[in-house]
């Protein structure tokens, strides 16, 4: 059984017939060739497939593509500007927040929504957020540091205190 859906992915509109049992992760990877969304466990545990649905992080493997009809999706391919990296990606690079990189796209999608809601999170809050993402390489320490660095990079510049002489 198929249905036709219309979705906006990374700002571009797509109209496709999809198998009703295809997940959103299947649709992004197989139909749109957006293979930056990784699938690990395919049952909602690992977090690798996390994308933004109308700006909020969701597991792309835990929703059917038909359910995305009419909605707006952002994947890892839609995060970076045309030339270069997003500040969160920069921070992961600078702080060695990835090794094999399999879990990274999902974590970056989650982190982007998380930092919007909590611009200066505590380490505890970062760890609580990361509990929804499995990483088998890093041991998480560098990911926590990368997200802390990203928070600083994304923070609006604080006004310099005026010196009493001026």
């Amino acid at each position: 059984m198929t249905r036709t859906i219309r979705v906006t992915v990374n700002g571009q509109e797509h109209e496709r017939a999809v198998e009703v049992r295809a997940t959103l992760a299947d649709f992004l990877r197989e139909d749109l060739d957006l293979t930056g969304t990784h699938v690990g466990c395919e049952h909602g545990v690992c977090g690798a497939c996390t994308v933004l649905l109308d700006g909020e992080p969701v597991r792309a493997c835990l929703m059917l593509a038909v359910q995305a009809d009419g909605l707006r999706i952002t994947t890892i391919e839609g995060v970076a500007p045309a030339d270069g990296l997003h500040p969160i990606q920069e921070a992961f690079w600078a702080k060695h927040g990835l090794q094999c990189g399999y879990c990274t796209p999902g974590i970056i999608m989650s982190a982007s929504a998380f930092l919007r809601e909590r611009p200066s999170p505590s380490r505890e809050e970062i760890r609580e957020m990361l509990a929804g993402h499995l990483c088998r390489c890093t041991g998480y320490h560098f990911i926590v540091e990368a997200i802390e660095a990203a928070a600083q990079a994304l923070a609006p510049p604080t006004p310099r205190p005026t010196s009493p002489r001026e």
């Binding site: 009703v20 049992r21 997940t23 977090g47 493997c61 835990l62 509990a131």
Partner: protein
Amino acid sequence: MKPAPFDYVAPAILDEAVGAMATGGGDAKVLAGGQSLIPMLALRLARPTLLVDINRLPGLDGIREASGLLEIGALVRQRALERWAATRSPLFSEVLRHVAHPPIRNRGTVVGNVVHADPASELPAVLLCLEGVVVARGPRGERMIPADRFYRAPLTTALGPDELATAVRFTLPPPEAGWGFAEVSRRHGDFALVGAVAVVTRGDDGAVSRARLAFFGAGGTPTRALAAEQALAGRTATPALLGEAARAAAAALSPDADIHATAAYRRQVAGTLAERTLAAALARCGGAR
């Protein structure tokens, strides 16, 4: 594509959804947030022939608080209740923080979590503790199912195969009541190995006038500790009395053993969490003291 093939409908009218459930002949499943159903489809633990997607139904996304009741429609995401609770209900705020992770809570519904009836899930125990009801709609109309008659076995409820839950109603504790919530899990957001939730009210004389205590992850269904509740009612709560009530509550449980914990471990932790949540609830009691 991992799920087995199924038919799919996304009705825009509640009666059509109810009708579709009936045509499914017991093999239809409601799809709301899908955060429990889709993993079951992917693992082929469930092979429904028809999915009735209720996400297009109007009027089911409301959170209404009126005359001591909190009614939550079938399309209210856990995240929406969490945001609502941030300024209005410290109890729900604390509970929701423990339900999986933000990406799951963004899709998962409160009602779906309640009716999925995972014995280790938090909200079913809260529904039981707060003497809630499930509002069910079926071919014969609407009925209310009290929480204490709703849970029958793991993933098994009193909901008929042709019924769909349109809302749940929690009885909000009075403002002077205190609450306690605690769970033990391997990782934040995992299903609890064991958890407890307590709500206590004190009378003018300082004695406990009413106590409610429920466990999750400590048996095939969420479990209310009726004997402990009765043992506390009308008595002055001393640490010794709380310990006694908590131990009695834990002794009455029949927890399961699995790869994560033995039954004996679960019972012991349940007793400790019962004591902690009752003590926290008493400490939070306001009003006359």
